[in-house]
């Protein structure tokens, strides 16, 4: 069995893919695993185990003929075809697309189309008429419920594992052997990274300097600043603004594999949501993630034992004193009392320290996708929204049944469009219903092209499933509704 794994996202995603690949190889020792990545990020693969070949997407080589006054499209297309036909000639039995992007979906579709045999596919691809095709439930879940601002709390590592058909074990967070990197001291140390790949996730270097200066009150360990050459300006500001004596700047001075070796032997890694904190998960280095802005750290956060997450929309709100105390607690005791999230061996993999959270949408997701217990705190607005969704869905089913029995779709399509408009209005008026509507829309989107009768039947099936879901949720609502006074005015 020869499988191709497409990971065309960023460097951090390549590291997040490693546990799934390790688990896959643990269970399928004789399978050949090729990993397809962008050439810009291929250095990340030096850290990964269990890959037979790394195939690089040569973006620059393909696009270079276009970067001139008269774009040379023919050469660009030829460069692309040389690459993709070579990829297709590898004759894969299975293609797992972990990228969730339009580009990767077309590449996957190309490999399917070019193959003489039926290739097994997981992840985004395309239908025969070019629409997005989502063949598996995990990718459909990602499409509907994941990303910044969404309620998903499954970690990407497990999502990738599911797409590869494996359950992850702690030993799957692992790298190639990393030779120790010589540092100018011989004692435990901390690593800090300031910048993330995007500015909105980064911590200003002045804030890092404040944290380092506060740490001086509590510890005297060497601190190593890490990052690429793009982080060197920030590191210089930290150095110039800090009074901490044992501060070492290694930004831009080490290859990625050397940076990984430094992280591996550190007592603690501190940083924003970045590729280096993803490395720390693989090297088992305890991490304090300072998650800034609209980042869903539940999907990308640290996985090494003892890790902790402090999350805030705005880096200026980070309190150096509190962070310094958290660092001390993480280094010298197991008990962190700061407000934040600690790692647990469960789903989701973080639990909040301190106040209870409102997890309604996440509980709703668990009810829809995992068949777990229904949420306990239905609001009257939510119940009304589900009732309206149930009503409009009944209307859509009635129309579709009429078409099924011979009525003209052309005459009825306006009613189906109106039903969709009402569903959009319900979503706008009641945000907590969003996971149900996202599930419904995704399932509708998954209906591929085909004969009229088949498409109609599949559409009806989705509406009937929505009917079942709404009915079941309404039953739960009613069993709790004696506790609520319904509002007098309706939401629509």
């Amino acid at each position: 069995m020869k499988i191709a794994i497409l990971q065309l996202a960023r460097i951090g995603d390549i590291f997040q893919t490693a546990p799934a690949i390790n688990a896959y190889k643990r269970l399928n020792k004789n399978h050949t695993v090729d990993l397809i990545v962008r050439n810009k990020f291929s250095e990340a693969c030096d850290l990964l185990k269990n890959i037979d070949s790394v195939i690089e997407l040569p973006t620059k080589h393909i696009l270079k003929p276009l970067i001139q006054a008269n774009a040379d499209i023919t050469t660009s297309i030829t460069n692309l075809e040389n690459w993709i036909l070579h990829l297709a000639s590898q004759d894969y039995d299975k293609v797992i697309n972990l990228s969730f992007s339009p580009l990767s979906s077309w590449i996957t579709f190309f490999l399917q189309s070019a193959s003489q045999k039926q290739i097994e596919v997981a992840g985004y691809t395309r239908t025969s008429d070019g629409f997005l095709s989502i063949p598996d439930d995990m990718s459909a879940y990602v499409y509907a419920q994941c990303g910044p601002g969404y309620p998903n709390r499954f970690h990407l590592a497990e999502i990738f594992g599911t797409l590869l058909g494996v359950d992850l074990l702690p030993e799957d967070w692992d790298t190639q052997e990393l030779k120790p990197y010589p540092l100018p001291f011989d004692q435990p140390y901390i690593c800090i990274q300031t910048r993330a790949s995007a500015e909105h996730k980064s911590i200003p270097p002045e804030k890092i300097a404040q944290i380092v200066n506060t740490l001086k009150k509590f510890i005297n360990l060497p601190i190593v600043l890490l990052g690429s050459n793009l982080d060197s300006d920030a590191a210089r500001i930290v150095l110039n603004s800090s009074t901490y004596q044992h501060l070492f700047d290694y930004t831009g001075k080490t290859a990625l594999i050397e940076t990984a070796a430094i992280i591996k032997h550190a007592s603690l890694f501190i940083g924003p949501d970045s590729s280096l904190q993803n490395i720390a998960s693989l090297t088992g280095t305890k991490t304090l993630l300072l998650s800034i802005g609209n980042v869903n750290f539940f999907e990308t956060g640290p996985r090494a034992k003892g890790s902790f997450v402090i999350s805030d929309q705005d880096a200026s709100n980070l309190e150096p004193e509190s962070i310094a105390k958290t660092v001390v607690a993480m280094l010298y005791s197991d008990s962190v009392v700061t407000k934040g999230y600690y790692l647990v061996n469960d789903i989701p993999c973080y639990k909040k320290n301190g106040d209870e959270e409102n997890l309604f949408k996440w509980e709703l997701i668990n009810y829809i996708y995992r068949g777990l217990e229904a949420p306990k705190n239905f609001s009257p607005q939510f119940e009304l929204a589900v009732q309206k969704l149930y009503d409009v869905n009944q209307f859509a089913i009635e129309i579709l049944e009429q078409v099924n029995q011979g009525a003209s779709l052309k005459d009825k399509v306006i009613f189906l469009e109106q039903a969709e408009e009402i569903i959009s209005a319900i979503e706008k008026l009641c945000d907590s219903i969003a996971p149900i509507i996202a599930w419904y829309r995704t399932e509708k989107m998954r209906i591929g092209p085909g004969p009229h009768e088949l498409v109609l039947q599949k559409t009806l099936d989705v509406h009937k499933l929505l009917d079942l879901l709404c009915t079941s949720i309404l039953e739960h609502c009613r069993s709790q509704s004696c506790q609520h006074d319904l509002p007098k005015e309706e939401i629509l």
């Binding site: 973006t59 297309i77 692309l80 993709i84 790949s197």
Partner: protein, 64 residues
Amino acid sequence: MNKNRSENESLQSYLELALGQLDRAQRQYTEKLTNYDVRSLSYQILKELIMEQIQNENSNTTAG
């Protein structure tokens, strides 16, 4: 920093121009096709690659 910004802007302009040309070439090529072939898929993949590149330049991230 300004030099980088100006390089990115000109790179983006070239890519946007190329995207327009590619779009026309793709339409011409696929006009009479009923199914995807290697060339028509290549046009689509190249378009997606360019669009991602433009998007990454706009979002000011290190992806590319």
